[in-house]
């Protein structure tokens, strides 16, 4: 199998799995327990946390179950905590459902949400963002890299602008971490990360933050400074810390991306959806008049695994909200497929994809 669906999830690295097993075997005590074993587990947990803080250049790290929980906590926790200051939040139309739906829930509670439009490339207009800010705006939430088409938002620039206005800035970096770097001198106030997108484990993620007071959205024994109750999974925390440390950008992704763009541009009726300058590890393309799922299953027969626009939305029948927002022409809207690279992607996978696509294309067009 040639696995090219790394933006949906990745295969865990061997080192990460080994660490996970070892911690389960040797440091299984509850880090909140008073006895020596608990103490040891706590030491390990705090060492993992410190490593993450250093790697991410953030002051605090709360361990969560993944990107969705981190986004929920970031938005709900900030909204609850700062609602005395204002009840207006800004985001973009192309954010992940965990952000959009959290904000929809906040709207039900009386918050106001502005959803910025994007251009054909998925980019927001910075002036539109500036104009949307009001005296009661408390929070802006944007993703670093779009999960469906790879558009990159200029985080450092926006962070600087929002800092001046003392508006809290949350960045969902689930798709970018380990692939793109963030400027350590212009970090956002809140940062979401997920383990399984960077060859870590499903069910592990974190919310890192600096200078923000969060309120809990989940109640219990007061773990994680009371912000995220529930026994902390030390093995997950260690595995996540290791996965983040091992995550490295791969310069070849850029080459392969260029290579595939060239390749797809030679087919009639194939549109490259990912804009120029998008993240190198995500490439979305669409075939005119052909449903994405037909491409996916066609390529799968040839042992190549890609996905429709995103794993989260691929089961719903509606057209992806990102395709809508970027104004993809109707004949392409249903035909988007997403190719995404990871640390285990090799040149052979790209070659196989090209061959398979040629065959599938010919077959489909022949029908």
């Amino acid at each position: 199998m040639n696995y090219l669906d790394n933006s949906a999830t990745t295969k865990p690295k061997q080192e990460v799995l080994e660490a996970f097993i070892k911690v389960n075997e040797q440091f299984y005590a509850n880090p909140a327990s008073l006895h020596a074993l608990g103490n040891q587990a706590e030491d390990l947990l705090e060492t993992a946390r410190k490593q993450l803080k250093d790697l991410l250049h953030m002051d605090k790290v709360i361990f969560t179950s993944g990107g969705t929980e981190s986004n929920n906590l970031a938005l709900m926790g900030t909204a609850k905590s700062y609602q005395h200051r204002g009840r207006h939040i800004v985001t973009a139309q192309t954010e992940h459902p965990s952000v959009l739906n959290s904000l929809a829930a906040l709207e039900q509670q009386g918050f106001e949400v502005t959803r910025l439009s994007v251009n054909y490339a998925g980019e927001i207009d910075i002036d539109e963002l500036k104009n949307s800010l009001r005296s009661d705006t408390i929070l802006v939430s944007l993703m670093h890299v779009n999960n469906e088409i790879g558009t990159i938002h200029p985080i450092a620039e926006i962070a600087g602008m929002l800092k001046e206005r003392r508006i809290i800035f949350h960045v969902d970096a689930v798709q970018s971490i380990g692939k793109l770097t963030l400027d350590p001198t212009a970090m956002p106030d809140l940062l979401t990360l997920s383990g399984h997108k960077i060859h870590g484990l499903k069910g592990s993620g974190l919310l890192a933050y600096t200078g923000v007071e969060l309120q809990a959205i989940q109640y219990g024994g007061g773990q994680e400074d009371g912000i995220r109750s529930g026994t902390v999974s030390v093995p997950n925390a260690v595995a996540l810390s290791k996965a983040v440390r091992l995550a490295q950008p791969n310069p070849q992704h850029h080459q392969w991306n260029q290579d595939l763009r060239q390749f797809f541009s030679e087919f009639k009726g194939v549109k490259i959806v990912s804009p120029k300058g998008a993240a190198p590890h995500i490439l979305a393309v669409a075939v005119k008049g052909i449903k994405g799922e037909i491409l996916v299953s066609g390529l799968q027969k040839e042992s190549v695994i890609v996905s429709t626009s995103s794993a989260c939305s691929s089961k719903s029948k509606d057209t992806s909200h990102v395709s809508q927002a970027i104004g993809l022409p109707r004949e392409f809207k249903d035909g988007v497929m997403r190719i995404s690279f990871g640390a285990f992607t090799e040149k052979q996978d790209i070659i196989s994809l090209k061959r398979a696509f040629q065959r599938v294309y010919r077959m489909i067009k022949g029908v």
Partner: protein
């Protein structure tokens, strides 16, 4: 242009006459110990200032970050060197002034020119540099007397040196210059702050902690370790003596009525501390007591407790308010450790109604029935001694 040196101005010790060289030597040793993890660092202590040099930028940044914790330093300044060329000097002057946060301040340039062959005279250098800097930062106002920013320029044969930024040091005296004393460290808020005040006056610390397993647990001990680690960050290492205190504490409870166990327990602690003090060449006992804070800290209690020893008992917080103590604890980073909620030797066995005005004669009378000497000696003999800062081994390295 290169910043590879820090000029350190001595604190109070500049005035200390004959002891001067030993003070400077002590400060040099403390600085060396503070930065023992930095490999490329060189330290040169002169009569009225010290130079810390490293060609590694990371190391120098570390020095700037950690130096404000070292006692005996009034202030320090990063020094930037450049070549003997007027244009290079202008660029350097601009860069050096740019490091200072607010530039709407009063300003002057002062020049020393020991290298007389340099083709430009002092007034010319002053004029050229100040007009260049003023053009770059139009908000600066020239003021010759006591300016807020004094750009110092020294033209030497090998290079031109410049500095302007002045970073405040911790003040006080170099730790160790004032001898050594034994701090009773409970794990609460006050005792680390008391230790900090004595460190600031140049006193080296030995630490003593009373541990009562199973009534106090490993977490409480860990807390004391973390406090000891903090107290070892001010230029001098410390030893922590952990006294097994359970037997003594239980014996006290057997012998004396409930409402004076607290007084009696503290007297036992004092007696133990006295023995440790003798073995470690300390000259005084330090406590975090603050008048009226709790039952054991009334004048009557202090008198009854103090009666067991002739050793000076220093109580730097005796007149401090709780809020002041908390503020200092936050500043020195012990607050978050101290507030961890674990029982310590002072909070367990606390009677419901301890006497706030215990009578010395009564306490002595009840203690009289048994000799505590043996238990005290046993506790001292069985103590565990740990040196801080602990050598940090990352035991989890292969996991992370």
């Amino acid at each position: 242009m290169k910043t590879n040196q820090i000029l350190v101005r001595y604190g109070e010790l500049s005035t200390k006459g004959k002891n001067r060289s030993s003070f400077i030597g002590r400060l040099r040793d403390n600085v060396r110990q503070t930065f023992s993890d930095l490999e490329k660092i060189r330290i040169k202590a002169e009569r009225d200032r010290m130079f810390i040099t490293s060609d590694d930028e990371e190391e120098l940044a570390q020095v700037i970050e950690r130096l404000p914790q070292v006692f005996g330093i009034q202030s320090f300044s990063p020094v930037t060197a450049c070549e003997l060329d007027l244009e290079a000097m202008k660029r350097t002057a601009e860069a050096v002034v740019a490091k200072i946060q607010d530039t709407d301040k009063s300003f002057k340039v002062s020049v020393k020119r020991p290298f007389k062959e340099f083709p430009h005279e002092k007034p010319e250098i002053m004029k050229e540099l100040s007009s260049h800097v003023l053009r770059a930062f139009p908000d600066l106002k020239v003021q010759m007397k006591d300016p807020e920013i004094d750009l110092k320029v020294e033209v030497r044969e090998e290079a031109v040196y410049m500095m302007a930024e002045v970073i405040q040091g911790a003040g006080g005296l170099p730790v160790g210059a004032g001898g050594k004393a034994l701090l009773m460290l409970s794990g609460g808020l006050d005792s680390p702050v008391a230790g900090y005040h004595m460190l600031k006056r140049g006193v080296r610390l030995e630490l003593i902690h009373f541990f009562s397993p199973p009534f106090t647990n490993d977490r409480a001990k860990e807390k004391v370790f973390d406090l000891a680690e903090k107290l070892s960050q001010f230029g001098s290492s410390v030893n922590l003596h952990i006294i097994p205190f359970t037997k003594l504490q239980q014996e006290v409870h057997k012998q004396v009525p409930d409402n004076i166990t607290m007084t009696s327990t503290r007297r036992m602690m004092m007696r133990v501390a006295d023995l440790v003090l003798n073995e470690t060449n300390c000259r005084a006992i330090i406590t975090g007591e603050s008048l009226g804070q709790v039952a054991s800290q009334t004048l009557e209690s202090l008198q009854a407790i103090n009666a067991v020893t002739n050793t000076p008992v220093l109580r730097p917080l005796i007149a401090a308010d709780k809020l002041e103590i908390i503020e200092t604890a936050q500043k020195i980073g012990t607050y978050d450790i101290s507030i961890r909620p674990f029982e310590d030797c002072c909070t367990i066995f606390t009677p419901a109604n301890p006497k706030t005005k215990p009578k010395l004669e009564k306490v002595e009378y009840y203690e009289n029935f048994v000799s505590f000497d043996e238990l005290i000696q046993e506790a001292v003999a069985e103590r565990e001694i740990i040196k801080f800062p602990r050598v940090k081994v990352n035991q989890f390295e292969d996991l992370l």
